[in-house]
């Protein structure tokens, strides 16, 4: 179970994501980002023709999530693709090995400059769920 909530922000886009597991939190971040690039894209897509393997190492789990999304954003722009699904092979506090699934994009609705570390703080809340805020610089 995961939730993606878009919140107000003065200049950019703030998203709050929450999930039962860390794997799901990373997938929520991915869908949250792709749905900005192309409005509601992940809700409508059912067939994924493209796989992209990611291998990320970072200082901690918060940086890991931001760096993972940055890597996929770069891939999305360079090869004009949109990714919605995530299959995790290995996820620790400092490393991620995974595959994301998506399809070719015929264009984007929004230009994300970067995923920032600002306000990002991956942690488990009192209910045991994983959560963080993410700010996308647009």
């Amino acid at each position: 179970m995961k939730t993606i909530e878009y919140l107000p922000h003065l200049a950019d886009i703030r998203v709050r994501i929450e999930a039962d597991t860390l794997d799901e939190l990373f997938e929520a971040g991915l869908k949250g980002m792709t749905n900005i690039l192309k409005k509601d894209f992940c809700s409508s897509l059912t067939e994924f023709r493209i796989e992209y393997n990611v291998e990320i190492k970072s200082n901690d789990v918060t940086a890991l999530l931001v760096d993972f999304l940055s890597d996929v954003l770069t891939k999305s722009y360079v090869d004009r693709m949109l990714f919605c699904e995530l299959s995790v092979s290995e996820l620790t506090a400092k490393s991620l090995i995974a595959t994301v699934y998506g399809t070719r994009a015929d264009g984007f609705d929004e230009d994300i400059k970067a995923i920032t570390y600002h306000e990002a703080d991956v942690k488990q809340n009192n209910e045991g769920k994983w959560e963080t805020l993410l700010i996308f610089d647009i």
């Binding site: 107000p8 922000h9 970072s58 929004e110 230009d111 570390y117 600002h118």
Partner: protein, 480 residues
């Protein structure tokens, strides 16, 4: 939370956050703002971010923020900091994701009364010839070796390839080329993100605007810049596009990983920085210079597109000369007075414009008696300004001043409050023709979403860190 009573008032426009307000401050911080603007600054984390900037290793004199400030990433937007050359920190958060976002002003020989009936056609022609909007590429699709030449040579590459003349280069900050650029320090991903984006504006708050010169405030500087009331001009506001965004993202990660090796601990991940003379610091600086060159080349190619549109509508003999081109997201190595001595420093300008005073060797010969032109874009449908740099800015703010209006309303709130089609019609009645890729873009960038640019400019004028020269009144706006 930070409160107004922690500030020391130096004048109606200058406030100090004394060193010691927070234990980790290395220097004090100064805020340029009228009292009424301080209240809005207190609503976000701009001033906490400014205090964070004062903790950068090697910071000199003080951290500063301009009246168009709002919360950014790492530095506040409108933030300025100079660190010691060569062992002080360089921080990508002090430059921003859009490296060398900046403004260029083109000046025509025509006057408003001569062209007013052709402005709608001009707006449409500009929209046709200057690619804008999300993901829209330009006509140029460069190979990686060609792109490397752009990164090394900036606007010089564009002129060499027929997009302008060598005279154009005289009127660009740093002549449109930072010599320390090294294309090898720019990742392949950054190059791939930028390879088809030369000559494009992009989306967001970037635009091409046609204005008529309104009120002249400073006859001497206006004469030196060749500006007269009623004259038609064009303003370009854009930067290094996806290439610069990727350079910033790449190096934030590299620097975050490297900081522990240099014993650097900073209060915000987005403030990540390493010593300028470290391997990572040098690599970032050379990549940032390359991205800055890409931005100058981009604005040069857009200039060429605007000149073509101008000739198509106004006549084949009509010219547009460059008045000036300034960066407002950049780090430069400059000499400034610090504690009574002239020192080389690394000046970070994040949403702040260089504003060098008279006789500075960095500015064109023609402008030396009065100072460097400073270009302040306003919001769509309000006004933009031409200012001039001063000796005071050299003393007080590392030769820097404000950069624009600064947002005051979120995009979501603006979209809720504004009906784009109604706004477009309203602006048309005011004589402003809007050509935009989407209604969303118009609503998000509506004038109500921005601070009062008149007040921002008045503050820096009264403070003396740039002086008003001319007000520009928009008549056509082209955006993504």
């Amino acid at each position: 939370m930070f409160s107004k009573d922690q500030l020391i008032k130096h004048s109606d426009y200058l406030w100090e956050i004394p060193k010691g307000t927070r234990a980790d401050m290395r220097v004090p911080a100064y805020v340029y703002a009228l009292e009424e603007m301080l209240d809005s600054l207190m609503k976000d984390r701009s001033l906490q971010q400014l205090i964070n900037v004062t903790t950068l290793p090697g910071i000199q004199k003080a951290a500063l923020v301009m009246p168009d400030a709002h919360e950014g990433y790492g530095f506040p937007i409108g933030g300025i900091a100079a660190t010691a050359y060569a062992d002080g920190v360089i921080s990508p958060g002090g430059i921003g994701y859009d490296i060398n976002c900046g403004v260029r002003l083109l000046v025509s020989d025509l006057y408003y009364d001569q062209v007013r009936t052709r402005l709608e056609d001009l707006a449409k022609e500009l929209y046709r010839l200057v690619p804008s909007g999300v993901g829209r590429g330009g006509k140029l699709k460069l190979s990686i070796p060609e792109l490397d030449d752009v990164l090394a040579d900036g606007a010089e590459w564009a002129v060499r390839n027929g997009y302008g003349t060598s005279d154009d280069l005289k009127f660009i900050e740093s002549h449109g080329r930072l010599k320390d650029a090294n294309p090898r320090c720019v990742s392949d991903n950054a190059k791939k993100r930028g390879h088809d984006q030369l000559g494009t504006i992009g989306a967001g708050n970037h635009f091409v605007e046609v204005d008529r010169v309104g009120k002249i405030f400073n006859e001497q500087a206006a004469a030196a810049f060749g500006l007269k009331e009623g004259q038609m001009v064009a303003l370009i506001h854009t930067g290094s596009r996806g290439l610069g965004h990727q350079v910033a993202t790449d190096f934030l990660k590299i620097m975050s990983a490297a900081m522990p090796r240099y014993g650097i601990i900073l209060p915000d991940r987005e403030l990540a920085g390493v010593p300028f003379n470290s391997e990572e610091g040098q690599n970032y600086f050379m990549a940032m210079c390359a991205a800055a060159n890409f931005a100058w080349c981009n604005r040069q190619i857009i200039t060429n597109e605007i000149r073509t549109a101008w000739k198509n509508i106004m006549g084949k003999n009509e010219r547009l000369r460059i008045l000036y081109d300034v960066a407002h997201n950049i780090a430069k190595i400059e000499e400034h007075r610090v504690n009574g001595h002239t020192r080389k420093v690394i000046v970070h300008r994040k949403g702040a414009t260089r504003a060098f005073g008279p006789d500075n060797p960095e500015i064109p010969e023609e402008y030396k008696p009065c100072g460097q032109p400073v270009l302040i874009p306003g919001s769509m449908g309000t006004a933009s300004y031409v200012l001039v740099g001063t000796k005071e800015s050299m003393n007080a703010s590392f030769g820097s001043t404000c950069h624009g209006a600064g947002r005051s309303l979120s995009r979501t709130a603006a979209k809720k409050a504004v009906n784009a089609r109604e706004l477009k019609e309203k602006l048309k009645l005011k004589g402003i023709h809007i050509q935009a890729g989407s209604d969303k873009g118009i609503a998000e960038e509506a004038p109500i979403a921005y601070k009062d640019v008149d007040l921002v400019v008045e503050t820096v004028h009264v403070a003396g860190i740039a002086k008003k020269v001319a007000k520009l009144i928009p008549v056509a706006v082209i955006k993504g």
